[in-house]
């Protein structure tokens, strides 16, 4: 199982803030997870296609090639606007 989290406008678009999911064996990277989530159809397909979306694996911003492993917390969010 991995813990997925969604923030800000993405959370609102998807209508979900977090979920625990069992990853298929074929999903071993952030990019793979993204494609798998996009297969859910609308609104996932378009919302996750945004190249500006950031991904944090275990609370560290990561790139699409980063590995995802059982027990990870993977968060998706738009560019940050704090300060």
């Amino acid at each position: 199982m991995v813990q997925l989290r969604y923030f800000a406008s993405l959370r609102e678009t998807l209508g979900v803030s977090d979920e625990a999911v069992a990853l298929p064996e074929a999903v071993v990277t952030v990019a793979g997870l993204q494609r798998w989530l996009q297969e859910r159809g609308a609104p996932w397909r378009d919302a996750l296609a945004d190249d500006h979306l950031l991904v944090a694996v275990n609370q560290e911003v990561s790139d699409r090639q980063a590995a995802v492993n059982d027990g990870d917390e993977i968060a998706w969010f738009p560019p940050v606007t704090g300060g």
Partner: protein
């Protein structure tokens, strides 16, 4: 010291706490206070809501502070960021750096707020006459936003 909090903070108290701990080791304290700007002057609209990623936010701020402390050999530093609903002129963020030398304090303070703005997981949602909207990073240096 870092803090992510809904309640307001007192910059004077933070500066005084910093100073008391310095015991004559620092000559320079530089602070940045970010305030909510008022896009819609005279209008009741203009509230902001700050969302964040609990856990990662604290990690990101602690990382930024540690990097500044080490890079500029600071004696002490502070990062405080508020979350939740905010109104125009409210304080959003406070960053301070104490150093033996003023150039180091200026560079470190500016580094911390610049880096916070691009790396710390906060998002601003603004209430406008046309409803609420999430700000983009481009908006975030325009009126309505801190600094």
């Amino acid at each position: 010291m870092i803090s992510v909090q809904a309640e307001d903070f007192d910059p004077g108290e933070e500066l005084e706490r910093l100073r008391s701990g310095l015991a004559g080791r620092a000559g320079a304290v530089v602070s940045f206070t970010g305030l909510v700007r008022d896009l819609n002057q005279g209008d009741a609209i203009g509230r902001l809501t700050l969302e964040h990623y609990p856990g990662m936010t604290e990690k990101a701020l602690a990382g930024i502070e540690a990097e500044a402390m080490q890079r500029w050999e600071l004696i002490d530093s502070v990062i405080i960021h508020r979350v939740g609903p905010l109104s125009p002129n409210d304080r959003i963020v406070f960053v301070a750096a104490a150093s033996a030398h003023r150039k180091a304090a200026f560079r470190a303070c500016e580094f911390m707020i610049d880096t916070l703005k691009t790396r710390a997981p906060f998002w601003k949602k603004e209430a406008t006459a046309d409803g609420a909207r999430w700000l983009s990073p481009a908006d975030n240096t325009l009126p309505g936003q801190a600094g």
